[in-house]
Amino acid sequence: MTSASTPSRKDDPANLTSEIQSETRIVVANQWQLIWWKFRKHRLAMFAGLVTLLLYAVALFAEFIAPYAPGTYSAAHTFLPPQTIHLFQNTADGWRFYPHVYGHKVQVDPESFKRTYVVDEATAYPIGLFVRGEEYQLWGLFTLDLHLVGAVQHGDPVHLIGADRLGRDVLSRTIYGTRVSMSVGLVGVGLSLLLGVILGGISGYYGGPIDNLIQRTIEILRSLPTIPLWMGLSAAIPLTWPPVRVYFAITVLLSLIGWTTLAREVRGRFLSLKTEDFVIAARLDGLRELPIILRHMVPSMTSHIIASVTLAIPGMILAETALSFLGIGLRPPVVSWGVLLQEAQNVRSIATAPWLLFPGLAVVASVLALNFLGDGLRDAADPYQT
């Protein structure tokens, strides 16, 4: 890490002092400041970090952001296609700013009785930000009816990404799905981290036969094809279990295999730190093992662990999506991206309503964001390396 600004004229005293200042700033900065400075330079990772924050914010405030509740259905709007937002309206006295969507008329084919929607430009439903709509309970605490986007008039059918086979709003359901899908990753990684740090730590710190045993176990687990195994295990979750218990069972299943990557990372760190001078010095000072590990070794590998954890979340999200998509993970009425994609399981349903793949976009966006973020964190995790 060199100073950010190299002065053009070395003899300029003002430049020189600023250089010295920035250098002392680096010398006295602590590890986390250095990591932050290095991470900040990585534009893509910064952007990915913002997207990730946004996704978790969506998960947190799903009720407020979604125009409808996930279960609100309307038989009159089954498979309603996405509505285009029009910002301006042409009236008698010229164009005016009037965000709206057009309504739809149903046409029934007299022969096949197939229903098709035709855009009806005569009816325009105004839409807006911060509108009053359905009542909801935010976090089960406050009863509110304010929504970030939606129809200005409560009750107008506004489905920006279309509706599914029961006339439920795809956008709202995807927003609610964020909550489960993004948190499955967090909870699963939390469990993996616990297992990974304990087992990887033991393995790397003690070495010898224990290390060998744990390493062989990891090798065995990693050579297994995960999805068939997950399928087998999750199919055994009783259908009578309440959704919350299924949710935890799935995360436990995912982390049973997911911990191996983290354990390897932790072990590698332990092995390389064990022979560092400061650890040997602490041991010579007569410090016991636990304080050495907790006070001296763990802090210096926290940043690496955070990076690995971030990189492990997308795998969990993908796995949950895949299992739920097959119908052996989470099940309705739970709303997760995988559960939503179940509606788009075959070509026929996608051909009728391609917008049902929208939750897939959310999956891709979140996985990409977390991958880029993790990559940036990994690069920044070792700020002393250039």
């Binding site: 990693r222 055994a236 070509v347 897939g360």
Partner: protein, 325 residues
């Protein structure tokens, strides 16, 4: 080399043991013993003698380790995987062709991944920080982020919408039931490209990144400069040393790509309706046809483990230093 292979094979034994225990656990997981579910599902009543015979055969009255022993020794000595209750046939009759097709798809995909990833990885490393490199990196990241089944759905939709054909399956309708012949093999090959692309995308994306990183490490080494200073042509220089060294970690990458392929093919096959182990496993799990499900998990796992073993041996052959570790 022989010693190395022998050691790897000895290491295999505990792995196989663990895998078989996991597969057996999957068989045991559903509540109640499977005879109860068999009786409840059967259309006509099953007479007591038959139930007793089954009970005896699977050792259901005996402790769990004896049941395991009966099951595993039957597989090893007689190739008897138990019966599928949904199909009313021995499991061993149902699985071999599907297992073979799974293998074929995985191997083709592996070849595809290598053929595509290595040249692109080399290009991306040599032309570091050019538009081409960024393009490859971005496409690679997106390839990693799209779940297999989503890619399958989108490609199927595109094929349906814009080419008016429904893709999927591994054979044309005429050949599904036909016995193996040259025409059937050709028909299989003509259907194989779609699953291979779908399955290969994530692996290709990952391998491009591995290849790029490895080669970049090598290119900055002094021997490259030395060779260049001696006037070796760029192309010869590149392929003679750094690429060869950079390929080593790539071979070991096969060890984790192979399980991922077999694993990913399970879901993709369900979406595309391929006659591989994936859909069979899925259906057997839904019907709680546990002997079929357990056997499939066992065999697919063994398949992956053998794949991993082969890649380990390959790696030791390419880089003899590994044998010494």
């Amino acid at each position: 080399m022989i010693w190395y292979i022998a050691r790897r094979i000895i290491y295999l034994i505990p792995t196989l043991l663990v895998v078989s225990i996991i597969a057996f656990a999957v068989i045991q997981l559903p509540p109640g013993d499977f005879l109860a579910s068999l009786i409840s599902k059967a259309e006509e009543t099953i007479d007591q003698a038959q139930v007793d015979a089954l009970r005896e055969r699977y050792g259901l009255d005996e402790p769990i380790y004896m049941q395991y022993w009966k099951w595993i020794s039957g597989i090893i000595t007689k190739g008897d995987f138990g019966d599928s209750f949904e199909w009313n046939r021995p499991v061993s009759e149902l699985i071999w062709e599907r297992l073979g097709l799974t293998m074929v798809i995985s191997l083709f995909t592996l070849a595809f991944v290598w053929i595509v990833a290595i040249p692109i990885g080399i290009y991306s490393a040599v032309k570091k920080y050019t538009i081409g490199d960024y393009l490859v990196t971005i496409i690679g990241f997106i390839g990693l982020a799209i779940p297999n089944f989503l890619l399958a759905l989108v490609l199927m939709y595109i094929a349906f919408r814009y080419f008016g054909q429904s893709v999927g399956g591994l054979f044309s309708p005429d050949y599904i039931q036909a016995p193996w012949s040259l025409e059937r093999v050709l028909d299989l090959l003509s259907h194989l490209w779609l699953p291979v692309i779908i399955l290969g995308t994530a692996g290709t994306a990952a391998l491009i990144r591995v290849m790029r990183a490895n080669l970049l490490d090598e290119l900055s080494k002094l021997y490259v400069d030395a060779a260049r200073a001696r006037g070796l042509s760029e192309l010869k220089l590149l392929f003679k040393y750094p690429v060869r060294v950079a390929l080593n970690p790539l071979v070991s990458a096969v060890a984790w790509i192979f399980p991922a392929l077999v694993s990913g093919s399970a879901i993709t096959s369900i979406v595309l309706n391929l006659q591989t182990t994936g859909p069979l496993l899925y259906r057997s799990l839904q019907a709680q046809d546990m002997y079929l499900a357990g056997s499939l998990i066992l065999l697919v796992s063994i398949l992956t483990i053998i794949g991993t073993l082969v890649s380990d041996i390959l790696l030791a052959w390419i880089d003899p230093r590994i044998q010494l570790q």
